[in-house]
Structure formats: structure tokens, C-alpha cells
């Protein structure tokens, strides 16, 4: 009896994983509520990725609204979304980058190769600002209004579908575009 159970184990494990595969085929990236929605962007002082000698705080972000995009070169999903960020930037959407626990040299190389959609990039080598923001992984994107308040948090890649379905409206209502 015990042997039978052991023999069944691989099949059961596969079926369990298979169910996830099935639902993954049809699912949308879900949203994740942030405790910070409706609150201001936490205070910070971090170096500028492209000019490491210069430190920036949220004053440097200037007027909103803007997207605060958490990314890293070790994150394949970020690479997938990068092209769409370039498209958005070309349309005049203001995007600020938070380079999360990354090697600065690789990050700069990435921007040089794939294009730089960001107005400004904060280098969060230790991940301190990301912790304050409650960042779970990369990529994540926050919509921040002109008063520096977080309006919305999107977990996962930003693509045309997500942008049109959700983010664009929030961004426009905040006075963007």
C-alpha cells in the first residue's frame, strides 16, 4: 500500500503543477493592493544611476503625475516590458526608474542598449526605498500624482493591454497626457 502511494506521487505532483499551468494560460496579471496607495512616496536620498556622484530625493522628480517603475537587469520580465516603456515615454508619459538591487554598470549598459525611457533613474542598490514602498519583486509600477501621492500600484509588467485597461485612465485623471 505504501509502495502504491509512493508510485502515485510523481503523477499527483505533475497534475497539481499542471492545474497551475492551465490557469496561467488564461490569466491576467493580477493587481496587488498596496498599503501605500493614497499615501506619499516615502522619503529617501539615493544616488542617480547615470550620475552616481549626485544624490536625488523626491524633489528631483518634479511635477507629476509620473510612473515610478521598479526594474533590474536580473529580471527577465523587466526586459519584456522595457520596449513598451520606451513607447510610453515617446508618447510623453513621464517615467521615473527605480533600479532595484542591481549592478549599476549592467543597468547603465541596459539603458544604452535598449533605450532609456526614464526621465531620471534612482539607484537603489541596497533596496531601501523599495522596502519602504513595499516592493515585492520586479517589475512593479506606481502611479504618483502631482502632490507626490501614490495613486495606484501595478505588480508585473506594463504592456499595452494593462496600460489601456487600467493605468492610462488613472494617469489621465491625475492630469497626465
Amino acid at each position: 500500500m505504501k509502495k502504491q502511494l509512493f508510485l502515485l506521487l510523481p503523477l499527483l505532483a505533475f497534475l497539481a503543477v499542471g492545474v497551475f499551468f492551465y490557469s496561467a494560460l488564461f490569466s491576467d496579471p493580477r493587481e496587488l493592493e498596496s498599503a501605500l496607495v493614497g499615501k506619499p512616496v516615502p522619503e529617501f536620498e539615493l544616488p542617480n544611476l547615470l550620475e552616481p556622484n549626485q544624490t536625488v530625493s523626491q524633489q528631483a522628480f518634479g511635477d507629476g503625475p509620473y510612473l515610478l517603475n521598479v526594474w533590474a537587469t536580473w529580471c527577465p520580465t523587466c526586459r519584456a516590458e522595457h520596449e513598451y516603456l520606451n513607447t510610453l515615454a515617446a508618447q510623453g508619459v513621464k517615467i521615473i526608474g527605480l533600479n532595484y538591487k542591481d549592478e549599476p554598470a549592467k543597468a547603465r549598459m541596459w539603458l544604452a542598449q535598449l533605450g532609456d525611457p526614464y526621465v531620471l533613474n534612482v539607484m537603489d542598490y541596497e533596496g531601501t526605498l523599495a522596502i519602504d514602498l513595499g516592493v515585492y519583486g520586479a517589475p512593479e509600477t506606481f502611479i504618483v500624482d502631482s502632490n507626490g501621492m501614490i495613486l495606484y500600484r501595478h505588480v508585473g509588467d506594463v504592456n499595452a493591454r494593462v496600460w489601456q485597461a487600467k493605468l492610462a485612465d488613472i494617469y489621465r485623471q491625475a492630469g497626465g497626457l
Binding site: F20, F21, Y22, A24, R30, A80, G137, A138, G156
Partner: protein, 662 residues
């Protein structure tokens, strides 16, 4: 016109596969000899048709036949001919056809090199492979047909091959990789046939071994090529990224490595039968799973193929059928299988089992790390990426006990090893490897770099254990040379496999620790120090390629007053797609690579330049080549040919090979 012929051949191949899956299988149960005898010709015919289809697609690429949608999307008239050819497998549809070509090729090979097999066995093995072929041929025919035409409106020129793929490394990488992936289908089919007949014996293990080794070799070389390509082409100097696509090839490799070892135990000692059969099913199942992950779009990856839910659904249904079916068969038939051999706790069997478990753990680590983002998303916790820190940490932990057991395994006897005789050797090897590893790292590197020291210790441990094992074959008044020349090829295969692995471990540890990377601003005439050398930026200027234009930078590298290298780095912009590519300049050496890449222009003639010094990076790939060479020796071991010539029964064959190590 040629394209239509290719399409027809593809359909004929599908028909052959259907016949192959049904007729010999039914024949094997009914006892119709002439039905079973159809297996071989049908397998060969299927290969012929797939080869015609593949050749037709190649011809369409060479001839710039942009009436075919797949050609128009992935090729361009300005592309050099060799890239036109590699563009055949540059995207989803064509690479799927390549996959099918490989599968049919393996099938045909099994049908040719299986004279010693009983007819029932060969009929079932080929029928199972035919069943797998049906899945892939239906998939390509109905969801991903490379022969779809754009008539009557077709473009004047094509969209060009993804520039990342316009590279020599990419011509060979996918074929090798697929050959390995698909090669595990043979071991899978043998396992299914054995489960169906209930005869899981030494003969089954012996038949499976050379095929499994062949697949494993291809996969090893394929993965090494991919890593090497990523290193010089992506421009970051990294050689492994734990990307889902890389993981998809790494999982079958880990399971396959476990399989070739457990097959050896199974053949020689008749134990671990269930375990071995499960590994044989898993290795190919993981290949299929990788295909699903890469081609269905459920995971986002740097080199994922264009995603399409209908394709994903098809592969998933196929996965359920093949993996679910085979694991179900395992659960159903497995209970009847008994392992007959006896062994004690301290024995080679236990050590091999230990390493098998570690390899399977490593496979599960990669699997969990790869699909965790997907499960995470489905539970509703949002999208995340599991980064390299997770994998690196777990692998650096797992490798220590793994290498420890790897050294001990060959030193131990089958069945039972006396501790007293063993202890001295182990202590000697341990003492020597730890002390020399630490000293070497302190002298040539940095005392404080624990990981580098560990890597060197592990490498020396394997070398010493292997040498001890070789020396132990010298008995009486034999010279060492006489003793060594008596060892079988598969024994040397094991020796090289282990030494190659040690080489890769040392390479990985030293490269990861001692790499120097500098990003500097340079103008022509500037010099920069790099790990004891001086790099001089000679000149920079525009350049023109066949389908791109760009900037070329010339660098010279000096060691004191002596120039040791002249390097040429490029930054290219491809005309059809506009994308930018970095061609790094590399001065390769056995002990170190110097790597120079142009970053971005900084105004005037100044450029951001990346300078890397990468010690021992070649060892990673050389180690993989040494491992594969070892695998090759094992395939050509005499006993496989002896067994074939004698047409021997399984029982006799076991006797002829008993007592050999390996």
C-alpha cells in the same frame, strides 16, 4: 513551389507517425510479426519525409522566398547565406521543425542500430516515439505551420533575423541543444516499452545507456555553446543568467546526468530499477515541460518565442497526455517491479544514490525557481521574478556534498566497502585538497575569498580521488601503464566526465570571484589599467556591414612594453530592425579572458568602454567539452558492440559486463 512540396512532405510524415504509433504497437500485443516488422521502415520513412520538409524550408530561405510568411518574417535578402540558413531555426515554427527533424532522426537511428533487440521491444519503442512524433507534427501542422504562404500579397523584402541571433554560435547552438532535448525521448520510449512488458532488467538498462549518453553529450555541448554565446554576444560578460529558457535546458541535463549514473547501477547491480525508470521518464518530461514554458508564453523570458494561448493549450494537452500518461503507467505497473540486488550502507550503490538524490534536488530547485513566478501569480500574489541570488545560493550549497560524494563514488566497491581500507585514502585526499586549495588561493588570489578557495578545494578533491582510483588498479608486478591500458573505455569516460566537471566547478568559482569589471570613459589615445595590463584605445570610426552599420573601436593591450593583443570591438545598428548590438572584443586565454565592449558614445570621440578581466572563464566550457568527450568514450565502449555481435540473451550479456567498473 518547393514550399508546397515541403508542406506535403510534412503531412506525409504525420501520416507515417500515425501508422508507426498504431500498427507495431497493436502487433506487439496480438503477436503479428509482420505488423511489428513495419516499425523500422515506417520510422525511416517518417525521417525521410521530415528531412524533405526541412530541406524545402532551408531552400526557401536561401532563395529568399518571401511568399512564405515565416521566411518573410525572419530573413532578409541582405543576410549572408549562412545566417539565412540559421534563420530557418531562428523563430518558433522553424525551430519546431528542427525539433521534429531531430526526433525523427533519433527514431531512424534507433531503427538502424538495434539489431540485437527483440522485435517486440523495438516495435514498442518505435511506436512510443511515433506517438510523440504525432504530437509534434500535429502541433506544427495546425498551430505553427512554417509553410504558410502570404500569397497573393507578399513583401519585396523580409523583416530580417533577430540581430541577437546573427552569430556563428547560434548556427550550432539550437541544433545541439535540441538533439539533446529530444534524445531523451529514446530513453523515455525504452522506459515505457519496459514498463509495458514488465521487463525492467539489466538488458533494458544496457540498451538505454548508449542512447542516453548520446543525448546527454549533445545537451552538454548545446548548453555550453549557449553559455559561450551569451558571454560574447550579449555584451555583458555574463555566461549564465538563470533565465527560464536556460533553466528549461538545464533541468533535463540534471535529470539526465542522474539517469546515466543510475542506469549504470541498474545494469551492473540490478537495483534502483523504479528510480531509474522514473528518471528516464522525468528527463524527457522535463524537456517537454521546458518546451511548454518557453513556447506558451506563460513565463516571460528574454528569449521566449512569441506567445499564443492556442499553442500553449495544445502543448499543455500534449503534456498531460505524455507526462500524465507515462507517470500513470509508472504508478500502475511499478508495483510489480522488484529490485533483486543487495548492498550495504557503505557501498558504491549508496554513494551513487546519494548523488542521484542531490541531482534530483538540484533539478527541483531549478524547477521550483522557474515556475514559482507562475504559481505565485496564479495564487493571486502578483508577478515576481526569482533572481539569480536564489539559484546561486542553493547551488553553491548543493555542490559541496555533491562533489564530496562524486570523489568517493569511484573509490568505493559495489555492494560493500570496508571502512578501514577506505579511511586512509579519504583522509589523505581530504587533507591534501583542503590544504593545497587554501594555499593556492592565498598565493594566487585573496585569502579572504572563501568561495574561490572552496572551488579550488573541490576541484583538487576530485582530481586526487580520481588519481587514487586509477592507481588502485595496479596490482602485483604490473607496471602502471599496463594496469591503465586494461581499463575499459567507459572507465576512461567516467574519469574524464568527473575531471571535466571539476574543471567547470573551478572555472565557475574563480570567474565569479576574481572577475574585474571596469566602466570607463575613453577617447582615442587614452590608456586604462586592467588587472596588471594596460589597455590603449587606438582609434574609433564608422564601419559598414552587409546588413548593418556601426562603429568600430580598435584597442591594443600591453603587458609592460610588450603588446599582447590587438582587439576590435563593434557597436552595430541593424538596418531592417534598427536594433543596436554590441560585438565585444575578447582576447581569450587558458587562464584568463580580456573582454572589451563599446558602451554608449559620450560626445566627441569619447566612449563609455567596458573592460573585463575574467580569470579561468574558459574552464567552464572546456570542462563541459571534457565531460562530453568522456561521454563519447563511454558510448564506444567495446561491450556494446560485443553484445551486439553475439546476439546474446540478456543474462549472458550481464555476465560479460559484470566486474567492469564504470
Amino acid at each position: 513551389m518547393i514550399a508546397e512540396w515541403g508542406h506535403i512532405a510534412q503531412i506525409l510524415a504525420l501520416i507515417c507517425a500515425c501508422l508507426l504509433a498504431v500498427i507495431p504497437m497493436v502487433g506487439s500485443y496480438r503477436g503479428y510479426i509482420n505488423w511489428m516488422q513495419l516499425a523500422r521502415p515506417l520510422a525511416q520513412l517518417q525521417f525521410l519525409f521530415v528531412a524533405i520538409a526541412f530541406a524545402a524550408l532551408c531552400y526557401a530561405f536561401i532563395q529568399d522566398d518571401f511568399t512564405i510568411s515565416y521566411v518573410a518574417q525572419n530573413s532578409n535578402s541582405k543576410l549572408p547565406w549562412y545566417y539565412k540558413l540559421s534563420a530557418v531555426w531562428g523563430a518558433h515554427e522553424g525551430s519546431l521543425l528542427l525539433w521534429i527533424l531531430m526526433l525523427s532522426g533519433w527514431q531512424a537511428a534507433v531503427s538502424v542500430f538495434s539489431r540485437a533487440l527483440p522485435l517486440v521491444a523495438i516495435a514498442r519503442v518505435l511506436a512510443v516515439m511515433g506517438l510523440i512524433s504525432i504530437g509534434f507534427l500535429t502541433f506544427i501542422q495546425f498551430t505553427s505551420n512554417p509553410f504558410e504562404t502570404l500569397l497573393p500579397f507578399y513583401p519585396v523584402d523580409g523583416r530580417d533575423l533577430n540581430p541577437l541571433l546573427q552569430d556563428v554560435g547560434l548556427i550550432m547552438h539550437p541544433p545541439m541543444l535540441y538533439m539533446g532535448y529530444v534524445g531523451f525521448a529514446v530513453a523515455f520510449a525504452f522506459a515505457i516499452a519496459a514498463l509495458l512488458s514488465g521487463q525492467l532488467d539489466a538488458a533494458w538498462a544496457r540498451w538505454s545507456r548508449p542512447w542516453t549518453l548520446a543525448a546527454w553529450i549533445s545537451l552538454t555541448v548545446g548548453i555550453a555553446l549557449g553559455s559561450w554565446w551569451a558571454y560574447y554576444e550579449l555584451g555583458w560578460g555574463g555566461w549564465w543568467f538563470w533565465d527560464p529558457v536556460e533553466n528549461a535546458s538545464f533541468m533535463p541535463w540534471l535529470a539526465g546526468t542522474a539517469l546515466i549514473h543510475s542506469l549504470a547501477v541498474c545494469e551492473k547491480r540490478g537495483v534502483f530499477k523504479l528510480w531509474t525508470v522514473l528518471l528516464a521518464l522525468s528527463a524527457f518530461s522535463l524537456s517537454l515541460l521546458g518546451t511548454f514554458l518557453v513556447r506558451s508564453g506563460v513565463l516571460v523570458s528574454v528569449h521566449a518565442f512569441a506567445s499564443d494561448p492556442s499553442r500553449g493549450l495544445f502543448i499543455l494537452a500534449f503534456l498531460f497526455l505524455v507526462i500524465g500518461g507515462s507517470l500513470g503507467l509508472f504508478a500502475w505497473k511499478g508495483a510489480a517491479i522488484k529490485s533483486r540486488g543487495q548492498y550495504e550502507v557503505v557501498s558504491r550503490e549508496t554513494l551513487l544514490l546519494g548523488n542521484n538524490l542531490l541531482l534530483v534536488t538540484a533539478t527541483l530547485v531549478v524547477l521550483v525557481g522557474t515556475i514559482w513566478p507562475l504559481i505565485h501569480k496564479e495564487i493571486g500574489w502578483g508577478t515576481i521574478s526569482v533572481g539569480p541570488p536564489f539559484f546561486n545560493l542553493l547551488f553553491s550549497i548543493l555542490v559541496v556534498p555533491f562533489v564530496f560524494l562524486l570523489g568517493l563514488g569511484p573509490l568505493a566497491r559495489w555492494r560493500r566497502q570496508s571502512m578501514a581500507k577506505w579511511r586512509q585514502r579519504i583522509l589523505f585526499a581530504l587533507g591534501l585538497s583542503i590544504s593545497s586549495g587554501i594555499v593556492l588561493n592565498a598565493v594566487f588570489g585573496d585569502v579572504q575569498e572563501f568561495h574561490a578557495a572552496l572551488g579550488v578545494v573541490l576541484g583538487i578533491w576530485v582530481v586526487i580521488c580520481t588519481l587514487q582510483e586509477l592507481l588502485s588498479h595496479q596490482h602485483g608486478n604490473q607496471t602502471l601503464w599496463q594496469a591503465l591500458s586494461k581499463l575499459s573505455r567507459s572507465h576512461w569516460g567516467m574519469v574524464l566526465g568527473h575531471l571535466g566537471f571539476a574543471m567547470s566547478v573551478v572555472g565557475i568559482a574563480l570567474t565569479s570571484t576574481y572577475t574585474t569589471e571596469r566602466d570607463v570613459r575613453m577617447q582615442p589615445g587614452d590608456t586604462q589599467p586592467l588587472a596588471g595590463y594596460v589597455v590603449k584605445f587606438e582609434q574609433v570610426g564608422p564601419m559598414q556591414g552587409p546588413n548593418y552599420r556601426g562603429t568600430a573601436g580598435e584597442f591594443s593591450v600591453w603587458d609592460g612594453d610588450k603588446q599582447i593583443a590587438q582587439l576590435h570591438a563593434e557597436k552595430r545598428q541593424y538596418l531592417a530592425s534598427g536594433s543596436m548590438m554590441t560585438e565585444a572584443a575578447i582576447d581569450a586565454g587558458f587562464f584568463r579572458d580580456l573582454f572589451i565592449a563599446l558602451g554608449e558614445p559620450l560626445g566627441g570621440d569619447a566612449w563609455a568602454v567596458r573592460l573585463h578581466y575574467k580569470p579561468f572563464v574558459r574552464w567552464i566550457w572546456l570542462g563541459a567539452l571534457v565531460m562530453s568527450f568522456g561521454g563519447g568514450l563511454a558510448i564506444f565502449d567495446r561491450r556494446y558492440r560485443v553484445a551486439r555481435r553475439r546476439q546474446s540473451s540478456p543474462a549472458q550479456a550481464v555476465q560479460t559486463t559484470e566486474g567492469e567498473a564504470g
